[in-house]
C-alpha cells in the first residue's frame, strides 16, 4: 500500500515537472530550478527541526529517523541548488562563483547541516546520537535567518532574484513531492539499520 502511494506521488511529481517545463518556460529561465530547489531545502530544514523537537519530547526514535532522512534529502537539494546557481552566474557573467548572497548563504547552511551529519557519524550509541543530533538541528535552524541576513548585509546587491512565479511554484510542489518520497525511503533504511543494531546487540 505504502509503495503504491509512493509510486503515485512520484508519478504526479514527474507529470508536474514535464507539464511545467513544456507549458511555461524554457529550463534556461533564471531560477527555474534554483529557487524551487532552495525552497525544498528550506522546507526540509523546517521538517528536520520539527522532527528533532518531537524526538526530544517523546524520545521515539522514529522521529530521529525522520529528522535524518529529511536532513539528508534537504542537503542533496541544497547541493543541487548551489550547483545550479553556479551555472546561472557562470553563464550570465562568466564567473562560476560570484559571492551571490543567496548562493553564499546556501553554502553556509549546507555546511551547518553537513556538520549535523558528521556529528551523527561520530556518535556510536544510537540514543545518544539521536539526542545530540536533535540538539544540533535546533542550533543549525536558529542560525539560518542570521546567516541569510548577515550575508545580505555583507554582499548587498549581489543576488539572483528570489521570487516565486507560477512556474517556480509548480516546480517547488514537484520537488517537495520527490523530496518526500526520498525521505520516506531513507527513513525506512534508517529504521532497518536500527533493527539490525538491536539484533546485533541481542546476539552478543
Amino acid at each position: 500500500m505504502r509503495g503504491t502511494v509512493l509510486n503515485l506521488l512520484g508519478g504526479i511529481a514527474i507529470v508536474l515537472l514535464a507539464v511545467n517545463h513544456g507549458a511555461f518556460t524554457s529550463p534556461r529561465e533564471e531560477g527555474f530550478f534554483y529557487i524551487p530547489l532552495a525552497g525544498t531545502a528550506a522546507i526540509s530544514a523546517m521538517a528536520s527541526l520539527a522532527a528533532s523537537l518531537v524526538f526530544l519530547r517523546t524520545r521515539n526514535l522514529r522521529f530521529d529517523a525522520a529528522a535524518v532522512a529529511v536532513t539528508e534529502v534537504g542537503l542533496a537539494f541544497l547541493a543541487a541548488a548551489i550547483v545550479d546557481g553556479c551555472c546561472l552566474t557562470g553563464y550570465a557573467g562568466g564567473k562560476w562563483w560570484s559571492w551571490d548572497s543567496g548562493l553564499t548563504s546556501a553554502l553556509v547552511c549546507w555546511l551547518l547541516y553537513a556538520a549535523y551529519l558528521m556529528l551523527r557519524q561520530s556518535v556510536e550509541e544510537l540514543t545518544q546520537r539521536a539526542t545530540f543530533a536533535a540538539v544540533w538541528s535546533i542550533f543549525a535552524f536558529l542560525d539560518i535567518p542570521l546567516v541569510v541576513v548577515a550575508i545580505a548585509w555583507w554582499k548587498p546587491g549581489v543576488h539572483i532574484p528570489f521570487d516565486f512565479t507560477v512556474a517556480r511554484l509548480i516546480n517547488l510542489l514537484a520537488l517537495v513531492l520527490i523530496g518526500a518520497i526520498l525521505a520516506v525511503v531513507r527513513m525506512r533504511q534508517e529504521e532497518a539499520r536500527r533493527d539490525l543494531d538491536s539484533l546485533r546487540r541481542s546476539s552478543q
Partner: protein, 456 residues
C-alpha cells in the same frame, strides 16, 4: 517510603533494551547488592539511579524525589569506575571544590577532616597526579562521603582497591549503615558484598515488582527563594569556572599552545600579504578574527576534555549543580582564557602589520568581547557534544565555525571599520545588534539544552 525506588525502568540503546522493566526498592538503612553477569545492566541501572542518564521508561525515586533534583543530589554519594578527582589539583583542593559544589558550610575544614579519616592528611597539599593508585582511590572514597550522603551508590566499589583502601571503605560503609544510611552497590566480589548486604538482587534485565511510594509535594516559589536560587546558581558558576581556570593555569596546556598558535598564524599571514601595505589594514578585521577563531578552538577543545581523565564529569554531574550552571561556568572560564590570548595577539598584530589598533579601543574591546562570548558559548556546547566521540578535535571546529558565521562576519566588519579610526555609525550599528542577538539566542538555547546533552 523507600530510600531508593526503581519502578518499571527500561533503558534502550537504540531499540535494544539494556534494562527491561526493572523494579526494586531499598528501604532506609538497608544495603542492596546488585549482582549479575557482565552486561546485565548493573552499571546502567546505577548510573540511572545516580541521575547520569535518563531511563527510556519508568521512574526512579530517591526519598520520593527524582534523581536530577538538586535536593536528591545533595543526599546522594556515588563511586563509579573513575575516581572523579582532578589530577592537576591537590587532594585538599579537590575535596574543597566538591565541598563548595555541595554547598557545605565550611568546605575546607570538612575536606581536611575527610583527608584525615582516609589516611591522606599528610599529603593534603600534594597534587593528585603524584599519588599512588591506592591513595587516589581513598581520595575518591573521601569525595563520595564528603557531604554526608543519605544514599550511597557504589559501582564495583572494591574492584582494583588495595587492602588499605578496602579496609577504609568497608569501615566507612559499616559506619554509614549503622547510622541509617542506605547503600546500593553493584559488585562481582560476592564475599565483600555479602559481608555488608542486607538484600541481594540478581539483575537479569527484570526483577520482581515492589511497591513504591512517591512524594507529591512541590516546593513553593517566593521572591526570597528565587533570589537565593540565583545567588546559588552564580556561586556554582564561579566555582566551576575557578576550578577550570586553576587547573589550566597550573598545567598551561591550552593557553600556551593557543598563544603559540596565534603567533604562528599572525606570522604566516605575512607570507600571503605585504605586511606594510595599506590594503592590509582593510583586511585587518578578517585576519584578526581568523586568528581569534583558530586559536580559540584550541582552548575550547580542552573544555570538556579536561573532565575525561578519572571520569571527573560524573563527579560534576552527580553534584547538586544544574547543567546550566556547569555549562555557564565552563563558558566563563573559556571566555577568560580566549580573551587573554586575544589581548596578547591584538598588539602583536598591530606591531606586525602596522595597524593603529588603539584609536577606537573601547569600542574594539566591546566587539571582541561580544564575538568572543559567542565563540565560547557555541564552542563550549560543541565541546560537550564531542567530548566522548571519535575525532573530537576535528569535529569541534566543524561544528563551531559554520554556526559562528554571522557573529564572525560582524566581528570582522566592525573590527576593520574601527581600526580604520572610525567610530561605530548607524550603518555599522546593525552588525553590533547582530552580534548581541547571536549571543543572546545561543546563550539562552544552550542553557536550556545543556542538561539534555549531559544526561540525555
Amino acid at each position: 517510603m523507600g530510600a531508593v525506588a526503581v519502578d518499571g525502568v527500561w533503558k534502550f540503546y537504540g531499540d535494544y533494551p539494556a534494562l527491561r522493566d526493572v523494579r526494586l526498592e531499598a528501604a532506609p538503612g538497608s544495603c542492596l547488592a546488585l549482582i549479575g553477569r557482565n552486561g546485565a545492566g548493573k552499571t546502567t541501572l546505577l548510573r540511572i539511579i545516580a541521575g547520569f542518564s535518563r531511563p527510556g521508561r519508568g521512574e526512579i525515586r530517591i526519598f520520593g524525589n527524582q534523581p536530577r533534583e538538586t535536593e536528591t543530589r545533595r543526599q546522594t554519594g556515588f563511586i563509579g569506575h573513575g575516581i572523579s578527582v582532578y589530577d592537576e589539583l591537590s587532594a585538599l583542593e579537590n575535596l574543597t571544590l566538591y565541598g563548595k559544589l555541595y554547598d557545605l558550610p565550611d568546605p575546607r575544614r570538612t575536606a581536611r577532616e575527610w583527608l584525615e579519616r582516609t589516611g591522606l592528611g599528610r599529603v593534603a597539599n600534594g597534587l593528585v597526579r603524584e599519588f599512588s593508585r591506592g591513595m587516589r582511590q581513598r581520595l575518591a572514597v573521601a569525595r563520595a562521603f564528603l557531604h554526608d550522603p543519605k544514599v550511597l551508590l557504589l559501582d564495583e566499589p572494591f574492584t582494583a582497591l588495595d587492602d588499605k583502601a578496602i579496609a577504609v571503605l568497608q569501615g566507612l560503609l559499616r559506619d554509614a549503615l549503622a547510622s541509617g544510611r542506605t547503600i546500593v552497590m553493584s559488585t562481582h566480589q560476592l564475599r565483600e558484598a555479602l559481608e555488608l548486604a542486607s538484600h541481594v538482587a540478581l539483575l537479569t534485565r527484570g526483577l520482581p515488582r515492589r511497591p513504591h511510594t512517591r512524594n507529591g509535594e512541590r516546593p513553593g516559589i517566593c521572591l526570597r527563594a528565587l533570589r537565593r536560587g540565583l545567588m546559588d546558581f552564580f556561586r556554582q558558576v564561579w566555582v566551576v569556572a575557578a576550578k577550570d581556570l586553576r587547573a589550566e593555569l597550573r598545567t598551561k596546556e591550552a593557553i600556551n599552545s593557543s598563544l603559540a598558535f596565534a603567533l604562528v598564524i599572525l606570522l604566516m599571514f605575512s607570507y600571503a600579504f605585504d605586511p606594510l601595505a595599506d590594503t592590509t589594514r582593510e583586511m585587518s578585521g578578517g585576519l584578526l578574527w581568523i586568528v581569534f577563531a583558530f586559536a580559540g578552538t584550541l582552548v575550547l577543545n580542552r573544555s570538556f576534555a579536561r573532565e575525561l581523565p578519572n571520569d571527573c564529569l560524573d563527579g560534576l554531574i552527580a553534584a547538586p549543580v544544574s547543567g546550566a550552571a556547569l555549562f555557564l561556568g565552563k563558558a566563563v572560564a573559556n571566555f577568560l582564557l580566549v580573551f587573554a590570548v586575544q589581548l596578547v595577539s591584538l598588539p602583536v598584530f598591530g606591531v606586525f602589520y602596522n595597524v593603529p589598533w588603539t584609536r577606537q579601543l573601547p569600542e574594539l574591546l566591546l566587539v571582541i568581547v561580544l564575538g568572543t562570548w559567542g565563540l565560547t558559548v557555541v564552542g563550549t556546547v560543541s565541546s560537550a557534544l564531542t567530548v566522548n566521540i571519535r575525532l573530537r578535535e576535528l569535529m569541534l571546529p566543524m561544528l563551531t565555525y559554520p554556526i559562528m558565521f554571522p557573529s564572525l562576519l560582524g566581528g570582522m566588519q566592525l573590527t576593520a571599520f574601527l581600526v580604520g579610526g572610525n567610530p561605530i555609525d548607524a550603518d555599522h550599528f546593525g552588525w553590533l545588534k547582530m552580534m548581541i542577538g547571536f549571543d543572546v539566542i545561543y546563550t539562552g538555547v544552550s542553557l536550556v539544552l545543556v542538561e539534555t546533552i549531559l544526561v540525555g
